[in-house]
Amino acid sequence: MFPTPIAKTAPSVQLIYKIALPIALILWLLPLIAVAITSIRSAGDITAGNYWGWPTSFNMVENYTAVFTDSPIGKYILNSFKVTIPTVIGTLILSCMTGFALGIYKFKSNMLVFFMFVAGNFIPFQILMVPVRDLTLSMGMYNTTTGLALFHIAFQTGFCTLFMRNFIKNLPRELIEVARVEGVSEIKIFWYVVLPLMKPAIAALSVLIFTFIWNDYFWATVLTQGADTQPVTAGLYSLNGQWVAKWHLVSAGSIVAAMPPVLMFFAMQKHFIAGLTLGAVK
């Protein structure tokens, strides 16, 4: 193990490490801690300029209630779910199939199709912006959560195909060969042989895509407007404009908006990291 395990070092080094660890963490999360503290302050503290002293009162319940009652944040969050969940499902359906096709079959243009998905995944969003907006408008889906989800499904299929294909390629091929000799149809091989083995990949991609899409801001501003359709990232930005200098509300709103992916991450940490670090080891 590198660096040298701390247990094998001198007691003084061990002590320093144990003290340095929490200090480093607090410094690292300082901006976030500041926001968390601000989110429980009273409006009085904010106007009086008492930002960093001891709060005169703890207004956690009041502030978080105010965020939900005085702003459409509940609606924004609902919209986020309406975009995110269909995207996760749609992307997984498409990429299980494309990954299966590219990982199992040997055919001439296999590499070409695969590289198309990989390259498309890296494209800057701006070059897609005008045509995608036109396409969505012409399908009558501008300013709908469906229109936004459809784009996300298409775009995320690039990354997910890369992921699924590499995952399937590492599955034992004998299983498939045996099934073919037995005369099992290709569709049944997909459904009964390969798909059950893909559960870890599906879990990893679900959390990853959920987080990516929940946190998307650019496409939300390009394809939606107004509280009826905008997801929480874009919503938070407009709320920030309304809540000028009401930092306690901005802070509470930010924390509310960040919660779902954070909970998702802590609940499925192992899968999340497995998905993110794909390719980081050989």
Partner: protein, 295 residues
């Protein structure tokens, strides 16, 4: 029909599985690239008739000072964003221990990557706030004057990049932590016997084994730098006086904002950004091609 399917199943099956994915990807990703290329040769407000203007948009770009500011900022982003890679490695080395509770520490260090850039942007705007932000409160406490980072042309881009480095370092850290997990312990032992320690050990024995992690870290950081949009939009809207714009943001401004619906000009900016990205995409694909052939 049945007989035909039976005979050609192996040839047809991959295309049937690929069809929906390719259709969606072509419609929303591949085709729009070419449509944007086409639009960049027109003057178009997004609603009325398109007017063919040839290379005029590109000629105008060459004389556009705002374009050069954005391009320069993109380069600053690219260079400074790379700091996330060594910073991530450093944090990973710091955390790669087995003391009690280390797993929670690792998760909490990774935390900034999980939250939206919108939230990161708001958090840092608050952190930089010239009158009451924590940064200036701390600066004042040790006897320095306040700095209005986001309102000062000299500092604004750097201030936003610092905000961006926060989640990006967390991302690189997790890549390296995974990489460090699979470093061959025998090689470390062999190195120790050869008296390699500290930096020498890191440079000659650990880093070569971390190459896949470094490669991914560089790729995602380059893409992150060139995609920078959210933080700029949230923290400054490109200001003050356009000094924190990057190409991605300038393009958006030209095409969609109150500055006018100049789709053609915006598309031309996007094409330039695309070409810069293409250099990296080509390099990535080339490496992947080599690896695939190697198998």
């Amino acid at each position: 029909m049945r007989a035909f399917w039976k005979a050609n199943q192996l040839k047809l099956a991959p295309w049937l599985f690929l069809a929906p994915g390719i259709f969606m990807f072509a419609l929303y990703v591949i085709l729009p690239v070419f449509q944007s290329l086409d639009i960049s040769f027109y003057a178009w407000d997004g609603l009325g008739e398109k007017e063919y203007v040839g290379l005029d948009n590109y000629v105008e770009l060459m004389d556009d000072e705002a374009f050069y500011t954005a391009l320069q900022n993109n380069i600053i982003w690219l260079v400074l964003y790379m700091l996330a890679v060594p910073a991530g490695l450093f944090v990973a080395l710091f955390l790669n221990q087995t003391v009690r509770g280390i797993r929670i520490y690792k998760s909490l260090f990774f935390f900034p990557f999980v939250i939206s850039q919108v939230v990161v942007g708001l958090v840092f705007s608050w952190f930089y706030d010239p009158t009451n932000g924590l940064m200036n409160v701390l600066l004042n406490a040790i006897g320095f004057d306040s700095i209005a980072v986001l309102a000062d042309e000299r500092f604004v881009t750097y201030g936003i990049i610092v905000a961006g480095l926060w989640p990006q370092t967390a991302y690189c850290m997790i890549l390296y932590l995974t990489g460090l997990n699979s470093v061959d312990p025998e090689q470390i032992e062999a190195g120790r016997l050869d008296n390699a320690k500290g930096w020498r050990m890191l440079w000659y024995i650990i880093l070569p084994q971390l190459r896949p992690a470094t490669f991914i870290a560089v790729v995602v950081t380059v893409i992150g730098a060139l995609r920078s949009f959210d933080l700029i939009s949230i923290m400054t809207s490109g200001g003050p006086w356009g000094s924190s714009r990057v190409l991605a943001y300038y393009m958006y401004e030209q095409a969609f904002s109150e500055y006018g619906f100049r789709m053609g000009y915006g598309a031309a900016i996007a094409v330039v950004l695309f070409l810069i990205m293409m250099v990296y995409i080509a390099g990535f694909l080339y490496k992947m091609y080599r690896d695939e052939k190697g198998h």
